[in-house]
Subunit: 353 residues, 2 copies
DNA sequence: TTGTAGGCGTTATCAC
DNA sequence: GTGATAACGCCTACAA
């Protein structure tokens, strides 16, 4: 009942040639080695029999699996689906497929998944895991495995990478707020052991300086995770300050949502009482009240570009390592407004502080 | 520089045995065939050399790729990440990996991706693509390829499947609304060529009957896509009706969000003027104003169960075909309220109608 | 209990 | 230009 798989021998037999010749005729690169007539006969036979090369056997011979490993923290984090689609679309166009591995930010799991993929002989890796340090890079370098980093940079080793320019994104946010008249601008920074958290914090300091604004150390609060809860906690701290800020540049959208919650709980309103800027432009974040002003990251392009870089390395391109930055886009929506004209600091006391 | 891969021969040589013996010692199933002493030596040698069996060679022999194809419409649709994670977690636990293919709901792309995965010799398929009809199933049946369906049922062929019980979900929604005193309950139905759209519509009709409520045909509107825009359009139609409904059971969360928009535009408020129930409990939908009352689907479990079923079929389990339904959970939030006590129908005219 | 030999399907390297 | 041959790494009758 189930079709017996058609092999190269079958095709060769039908075309009346040796399997080796059939093989040459079937591969575009080696087709020039056979006579035109033979090539036509082989191709025809292959088509008639519905021949499909066995990629497993081919891999065994060529030591190429046409497979790449992709390590991400968690597919459920809305940043990653578009990145993965970008990767997948670009890879598929070149006959590659991605093996997705979720690490949950756990170093041990990361190592296990990495090893399993190595065992499957992937041709390369895209690493989008969060933590800055990792022995994986050293190992990959030793094994001469092509690797591309996403949204992080290598410190010791030089690996190609694709990232969104976080500093530039923060500068857009700060510039926007400054143009609205804000001077006391706070920053809720993400975890400093994540490159996004660190770079956005650094970018904030630089952007404030560039805008000629002082950075009040009290107005920089550090979240321990990129979560709504942490954003809420940090915002509460800011609201408790004697001299309050008029705007917050949050480390990402989740932290910004935490600000919404904290303001709500304090009986304050956004943007009337405080402007809030997020980061990432998560799906559906434009449907909130108020719709969040944020910095949009071209996630899909991050994926396609990372795939492109990886394919270049796999293809044996030994040129200089490329470090690619993609520009973010600033999305002005309803959570930012001009600074209230004549309102002294702390003219209202938050209800729960 | 790059490590020469350790093969079975290397292990055998170090243990002083023949490769065949080493092979037996390394496989748990055949280990009993070998003396305990030999087994220990081989295992030790393998560990010392860091031996990892080459899955490609193994696949060539065993005709098992330990790989399954997963076809979904679009990873960016927030329903799918949790399903894919569920699949992946369960599959990984059995040494399988998933190849994800996005079809974008396009029949042609679906067929191409399917063929490519077949060419890669996947051991089975999880099909979560949307359209009800498909020649893929016939083809898979002919090739005796294990297949599990997700959120859809086979019509002609009998395939195992995992779905959430849509009828039951609608019944929960209708029962909830009826308990709040609503009698004129509308339904914004999803596309009827999708099983979710169709089954929820059928479920709505049945649930209304079960609650002893009449179904006013005018109160059932059909959306052409599961999109916010379509939800808005359909809700606008409902608001233009002379005898207005007091509650809407939407075909999914996006359609419910469309209701939010339409009510907003009409100067009406939810739930005061109209109750709205969604479907799916999308991420972050609880952060909207008002937080959406909806039917939560256990997406992650759909993934793990589908993987489980597929692994059973791949393992040669030829028992009766399992059709698995998972119960949804009703989440009461802020978008539903008691029907306004003494308010005649259509006492307000929508501003744009 | 262990060794021998052959083959899974393909491609690379010979020789003709 | 084409055919023969070997090998990729592993598994498994079969023989010893």
């Amino acid at each position: 009942m189930s079709d017996p798989p058609v092999t190269l021998r079958d095709v060769a037999a039908r075309a009346g040639v040796h399997p080796a010749t059939a093989s040459r005729a079937l591969s575009p690169e080696t087709r020039i080695l056979v006579s035109e007539e033979t090539a036509r006969r082989v191709l025809a036979a292959a088509r008639e029999l519905g021949y499909r090369p066995n990629p497993v056997a081919r891999s065994l011979r060529t030591r190429r699996s046409h497979t790449v490993g992709v390590l991400i923290p968690d597919l459920n984090n809305p940043l990653f689906p578009p990145i993965v689609r970008g990767l997948d679309d670009r890879l598929a166009a070149s006959g590659y497929v991605a093996l997705i591995g979720n690490t949950d930010g756990d170093d041990e799991r990361e190592r296990v998944v990495f090893e399993q993929m190595r065992a499957r002989h992937v041709d390369g890796f895209v690493l989008a895991t969060a933590h800055l340090r990792s022995t994986l890079l050293a190992e990959a370098a030793r094994a001469e495995l092509p690797v591309v980093l996403v949204n992080r940079l290598a410190e010791d080793y030089s690996f190609p990478s694709v990232s969104v320019d976080n500093e530039r994104g923060v500068r857009m946010a700060v510039t926007h707020l400054a143009a609205l008249g804000h001077r006391r601008i706070a920053h809720i920074a993400g975890p400093q052991d994540l490159s996004t958290g660190l770079n956005r914090y650094r970018g904030f300091v630089a952007a404030m300086a560039a805008s000629g604004l002082p950075v009040d150390p009290g107005l920089v609060v550090f979240a321990e995770r990129f979560s709504l809860q942490e954003g809420q906690r940090c915002c509460r701290e800011l609201l408790a300050l004697p001299e309050r800020c008029t705007a917050v540049a949050a480390g990402n959208d989740m932290l910004a949502l935490g600000c919404y919650a904290a303001l709500d709980a304090a009986g304050l309103r956004c943007p009337d009482d405080m402007s809030v800027v997020g980061f990432n432009d998560m799906p559906f974040i434009d449907l909130l009240k108020p719709p969040l002003t944020t910095v949009r990251f071209p996630h899909y392009q991050v994926g396609t570009e990372a795939a492109q870089l990886l394919l270049e390395r796999i293809g044996g391109n030994d040129g200089p390592v490329k470090i690619l930055y993609l520009a973010p886009e600033f999305i002005t929506r309803g959570s930012t407004a001009r600074v209230p004209a004549d309102r002294g600091p702390a003219d209202r006391v938050p209800s729960d502080a």
